[in-house]
Symmetry: C2
Subunit: 383 residues, 2 copies
Amino acid sequence: MSVTTPKGFRAAGVTAGLKASGKPDMALVVNDGPARAAAAVFTSNRVAAAPVLWSRQVISDGRVDAVILNSGGANACTGAEGFQNTHATAEKTAGALGVSAGDVVVCSTGLIGEQLPMDKVLPGVDAAAAALSADGGAEAATAIMTTDTVPKQAASTGAGYSIGGMAKGAGMLAPGLATMLVVITTDAVLEQAALDAALRQATRVTFDRTDSDGCMSTNDTVVLMSSAASGVAPEPAEFTERLTTVCADLARQLIGDAEGASHDIAVTTVNAASEADAETVSRAVARSNLFKTAIFGNDPNWGRVLSAVGTTDAVFEPEQLNVTMNGVQVCRNGGVGESRSLVDLSGREVSVVIDLNAGSETATIWTNDLTHEYVHENSAYSS
Amino acid sequence: MSVTTPKGFRAAGVTAGLKASGKPDMALVVNDGPARAAAAVFTSNRVAAAPVLWSRQVISDGRVDAVILNSGGANACTGAEGFQNTHATAEKTAGALGVSAGDVVVCSTGLIGEQLPMDKVLPGVDAAAAALSADGGAEAATAIMTTDTVPKQAASTGAGYSIGGMAKGAGMLAPGLATMLVVITTDAVLEQAALDAALRQATRVTFDRTDSDGCMSTNDTVVLMSSAASGVAPEPAEFTERLTTVCADLARQLIGDAEGASHDIAVTTVNAASEADAETVSRAVARSNLFKTAIFGNDPNWGRVLSAVGTTDAVFEPEQLNVTMNGVQVCRNGGVGESRSLVDLSGREVSVVIDLNAGSETATIWTNDLTHEYVHENSAYSS
């Protein structure tokens, strides 16, 4: 159930002293091979953190030997000094492992606009390397947590091979990823191009459709490494499907632990003219603060759903819209449907289905409600 | 200081019983001429309320004799019955005034998805017509309030003519307007085409740049009527400038009374390559929930400003961005600037200036912080 579930990987999580709390704050995942194929996707935010700028270069040749991660500081908006610090972290890791710095991905998460305390980071690299273990996945998953309340791990086993993963992220979850760091490992045998295609397809329908609060981070990274240690070469389609399952599992855990949320909401648009229309409509609803506060108040306020749908350019006629909340069709043909008093929103899981009656395509965006706890946690984060 | 400041107008505000609170809930503004030229802009939400669908037809010939407004119900998502109710309201108003129903604009605000109690609305029309007075502007401004805590009025006097206005709206303030009803009157002599051009220019840089919570209403209406009773024909440019001042005054009052807000925030982007870029960047920041909660917490978290800027496609280089908060340049060249401890966010007014260093264009979006009160008011609205 972790990044060390597949054969050929070691991991560690240690305390370097970056967090005032004294909790673990550095993680290392190493691919011992025999293969070192890898793929990655990064934030599309143009204000990208130093580790993202570095790691984009690392992944360009399709080889990754290790991923070094720190919580307790994002190393974003830190200029040339910040980039030098990322470079030094990769060099230190490479030296400890006997690999090339150009094959070491670096990930950071935490506050923006502050330099990392390198006098703690560099000894932390040594400590992590010394702690590497073939069952260190759980420690690594714990060390990358920030405001997360639980570590997030997932795994799936195919015919003779497996996929394992870990993730962190509890706020700023949005499209193009978002303060989300994800490391996925597999011992399946795949060409780099197949890994890359599988990762892009899997993230497109999972992490990219996870939109907790509409905000996009400067540091998001999802990296997939293959050791090929199983000797088993699955069909790419079967591998992609399994990888998607692992990503969906991790994405679901991220939404389930989003900062201050009291509801996990699946906004599904059906019968759209295109998948893009379905995604646009679901995202517009998922980003409506009025909708999100209504769900917090256990209020099946379908008028706010329709208001959000009406801001999009998707194909639909207003008088043909239906909205179903937790199984009750509260809006029918753009007007009043079943009684909203029939809707039970007291549980954590909420399903909103918008029927556009304009085609046959579907897409779901996973989001959270907007709560007092969200306001509290995010108004106090840096103080 | 009201819609009855210009000559040729009468207004009234009465209690028809639409609000459970027993507060005034219907308003009427009548143009007694001699001219009846008018212009209007409406929500761009495709799920438009019945009164918007009706009033778009009314304005198509450029003549409006009266505007009848109700709070206590939006008459949105109410189907054919809802449209018939709007029509009946216009007919009743026309009958009471001896004008054509086709020249009566109807505005509604309140909950979506419920039919108006016409047994109260129609007697309310008669009561409002009976209460019409040449100094009834203040009563009208009070009767259109929903969650507003104060009535909003403004006026400006030129050489021999004046402009007066009233507005309501305290949530869902967003581009393309938003649960915002605005009636503006003038006794200046202007052709209908000049009125229309002036209104579009004035709203483009005022109400359209007022974005309290990113949500767009189904009912927004801004209507401008000219009686020509002053006999003075101002230069269109001078009239447009004065009209813009009145609209800006009303927009500022809307932001100042936004639901649950504790800060009024002006997000200004300067040195942009285009005005569209400047507006896009300012709006992206104004819509970031992480930025808005930080301001609520009096936290000058410029990293969240840069994160939002980075999601846009505006022309800029990340390492050339500067951010100034209440006069302190906390971010310089994309990195740390002056100490954030120098920023005082304890007052209600907040100024955030983003320098793109990419041109010479500027745009400001006015918004609010995201607070506990916002969550509270909007999670309890319909229950």
